[in-house]
């Protein structure tokens, strides 16, 4: 049975071997222990002995070639006649399709394994540049490994055709870092292929090797720079988490002048800090005012009172909802007014008050969100009060010197100006001449 001669692993951490010379020629008889070839590894030449008896045939790697460990480089056949036709195909200028497709033809220089357990070597400096002529014992580069810097010789005579790694780069052992060609190259190349694994010649990765070539690749450079942190708020992780859960903005403590960092105890303080407009419009409100003589309403009320008890809050809520409903053209929807008499601590809710008779309006006990707030400030000196932006339109009615003053307030942008003006105009008109409401 023919015996395959493989490139042996001779050094401590060796991935390829350089064939210096064949000591047997194809067709020669060999015995176990005969020196077959000389291989260079760990910077020393070693003789490799035949492990089988027979006739050397089919030499697959030529002198000067760097062969990955484990590759078949020759066959020892049982018969002398087995000298393969391959012999013809392996002269000094072997066809290039037997080689991994190098970008430049020539001898490949690999990152050598120099240390005890070295996965990568740091390329400190190139001593030759692309196009330079080199002798085999010229120093080609400096490599740092195991904390010491070593000079690495070219190993081949010729010209630097290609440099594939840059100074400062950590290159996995066994990766091709340069190519030395016999002829002066027309276009010497300097490039870095470390980020394009597929572009470099196939490298023998032995399955037994625990090394992962991917993990030993240099880390990609960091993105240009970190974005500046800006006005970061310093707070404990728990304070930040609770603030987020409760919808509190820790930045308000900073604008309020409290010293950082913030802890959970500061969250109570934050709840006490008044909300501040964080944009020009968020907390802004619009308002519209009107004044009318109240004698018309008073007469109407006297007339109505002859028939039943009259509550101004109910009547005005009916007027207000009716005007709002008309202004926003919401005929069918249920509308709720929350009516206050703040100075008497009265608060009552009416649902669709405009759809009942004025003397039959009943308070609603349902917990309904109001569409409108109505404040009765009459009978006091207060004519105007502002409590920040209401959530819904609010109509305040005060009186002085026989005149009703009507103020509509609403969050900025909630109502169109025309709509707001229409509401106030109509409200004023109904108070001036309540019969309008009945029409």
């Amino acid at each position: 049975m023919p015996h395959e001669v493989i490139m042996p692993a001779l050094g401590m951490a060796q991935e390829t071997g350089l064939i210096l010379a064949w000591r047997k020629a194809p067709g020669d008889a060999v015995k176990i222990g005969d020196v077959l070839m000389e291989v260079e590894t760990d910077k020393a030449a070693m003789e490799v002995e035949a492990q089988a008896e027979g006739y050397l045939a089919d030499i697959r790697a030529r002198e000067g070639e760097n062969v990955p460990v484990g590759n078949v480089i020759a066959v020892i056949a049982d018969e002398p006649g087995a000298v393969a036709a391959r012999e013809e195909a392996t002269p000094a200028d072997a066809p290039s399709d037997e080689q991994p497709p190098a970008q430049q033809d020539g001898n490949e220089v690999i990152m050598p394994a120099l240390g005890m357990a070295q996965d990568t070597g740091l390329l400190v400096a190139w001593h030759k540049q692309p196009g330079d002529a080199v002798a085999a014992d010229d120093v080609l580069l400096e490599v740092e490994t195991d904390k010491s810097v070593m000079e690495v010789q070219a190993g081949h005579e010729g010209y630097v055709a290609e440099l594939r790694a840059e100074a400062g780069e950590n290159v996995p052992v066994g990766d091709v870092i340069a190519v030395i060609s016999a002829e002066k190259p027309e276009v010497p190349v300097k490039r870095n292929t470390s980020k394009k694994k597929d572009a470099k010649p196939e490298q023998q990765v032995t399955p037994a090797s625990p090394k992962n070539p991917e993990t030993s690749r240099p880390a990609p450079k960091r993105a240009a720079s970190q974005p500046p942190t800006g006005d970061r708020i310093l707070a404990s992780p728990k304070a930040k988490r609770l603030a987020a859960e409760r919808g509190l903005d820790l930045a308000r403590l900073a604008t309020d002048g409290h010293r950082q960092p913030y802890h959970v105890a500061d969250l109570d303080r934050l709840s006490a800090v008044p909300a501040q407009p964080s944009t020009a419009t968020a907390n802004a409100f619009d308002h519209v005012e009107a004044r009318v003589d109240r004698s018309g309403y008073d007469a109407f009320r006297l007339w109505l009172a002859g028939e039943s008890q009259i509550d101004d809050l109910a009547v005005w809520s009916a007027f207000a909802i009716a005007t709002l409903r008309a202004a926003i053209q919401s005929e069918s929807r249920r509308m709720v007014a929350q009516a206050h008499r703040p100075l008497r601590r009265q608060s009552v809710r009416f649902c669709d008050p405009d759809l009942s008779g004025l003397s039959a309006i009943e308070a609603s006990q349902d917990d309904l969100a109001p569409d409108l707030i109505l404040r009765d400030l009459t009978g006091s000196a207060v004519t105007k009060a502002h409590f920040g932006a209401p959530a819904v339109p609010a109509i305040s009615i005060s009186d002085s010197n026989g005149t009703f003053e009507i103020i509509l307030e609403f969050p900025a942008g909630m109502l169109e100006p025309e709509t707001a003006l229409a509401i106030v105009h109509e409200m004023a008109a109904r108070l001036e001449e309540p019969l309008r409401h009945l029409l």
Partner: protein, 334 residues
């Protein structure tokens, strides 16, 4: 070579087979490393077979040994099988240590091998402790501590020899002097004589030709029997030779050892060849029978290698198993 009667034919055959098995194992291990099929590196026992076999053939199955980084030979000699050994070498689940030990910690624990040890001299305490246990628990077991000449430079040896002598422990310190302490000649690292060091503790010391399996075995038989009776401890210096470098990658070694010297030992002192010749001359085995044994063992080894190459790696979930006895997975425990 001491002349022997043919009454011991079975023993001779066993010793020959075991030496050939060690050589076959190492040849295959070397090839696995050279062809980059074996992770890590390994230290070859080839050339020293008569030491492990001569001593282990004098031991009972329950007797204990401790081994070294150059431990494949002791492992085979103490009764291990090729298949589980190659699996361990390749880090496979069926290895003796489920792939967690590898070449430097290989052992078939069920035959009294307390483990190969990657710390030079690291097992001297363990072997002495095994002898201590045997004596205290009355098991009558004997412990053999294999170590190299390099390990005689470790202080631990002198501490445990002292106690072993004080307490008459059934331990035999077997120093395989292969002439080299890693990459250095032994005479450059060892002052005086090794036997004298043991004798300084009042320990009976012997020196024997470690290439002569019969001489080793004869001495071991006597000392093991005496140790079992409570006459230990003993020291044996076994003069031997390692054919390979310190480890498989130690190829370029002209600077500390000449090729002529290596050739001389291989040609004239090979323990297997010489024992084979003796068996032939004594009429125990014919030349054909010897070849048949060699071929059969080679085929066994090759089959075991093929099996191990195809065998499964341990599942990744085993990575945190066997950290603590009684704890399935250490990471969820600590």
């Amino acid at each position: 070579m001491a002349p022997k009667k043919k009454t011991n034919t079975e023993d001779y055959l066993q010793m020959y087979r075991q030496m050939v098995r060690i050589r076959a194992f190492e040849d295959n291990a070397n090839q696995l490393y050279l062809s980059a099929k074996m992770p890590g590196l390994t230290h070859m026992y080839s050339g020293q077979e008569a030491v492990a076999v001569g001593i282990c053939e004098a031991l009972e199955d329950t007797d204990k040994i401790t081994s070294t980084h150059r431990g494949h030979g002791h492992c085979v000699a103490k009764g291990a099988e090729f298949k589980e050994m190659f699996c361990e070498l390749l880090g496979k689940a069926e290895g003796y240590c489920r792939g967690k030990g590898g070449s430097m910690h290989i052992a078939d624990q069920s035959h009294g091998n307390l483990g190969a040890n990657a710390i030079v001299g690291g097992s001297m305490g363990i072997a002495t402790g095994a002898a201590f246990s045997a004596k205290r628990l009355g098991t009558k077991d004997v412990a053999v501590c294999f170590f190299g000449d390099g390990a005689t430079a470790q202080g631990l040896w002198y501490e445990v020899m002292n106690m072993a002598a004080l307490w008459s422990l059934p331990v035999i310190y077997a120093c395989e002097n292969n002439g080299y302490s890693e990459y250095t000649k032994t005479e450059e690292i060892a002052a005086g004589s090794l036997t004298a060091r043991a004798q300084a503790f009042g320990i009976e010391a012997h020196s024997v030709d470690g290439q002569d399996v019969l001489a080793v075995n004869e001495l071991a038989q006597k000392l093991v029997a005496r140790a079992r009776k409570g006459e230990g401890p003993f020291f044996i210096e076994l003069k031997t030779y390692r054919y390979h470098g310190h480890h498989v990658g130690d190829i370029n070694r002209d600077y500390y050892r000449s090729k002529d010297e290596e050739a001389e030992w291989k040609i004239t002192r090979d323990p297997i060849v010489n024992f084979g010749k003796w068996l032939e001359a004594e009429g125990v085995l014919s030349a054909d029978e010897l070849v048949a044994i060699n071929d059969e063992i080679k085929a066994d080894a090759k089959a075991a290698v093929d099996y191990a190459l195809d065998a499964a790696y341990p599942p990744t979930g085993e990575v945190d198993m066997h950290v603590f006895a009684g704890v399935d997975h250490a990471l969820s425990y600590v």
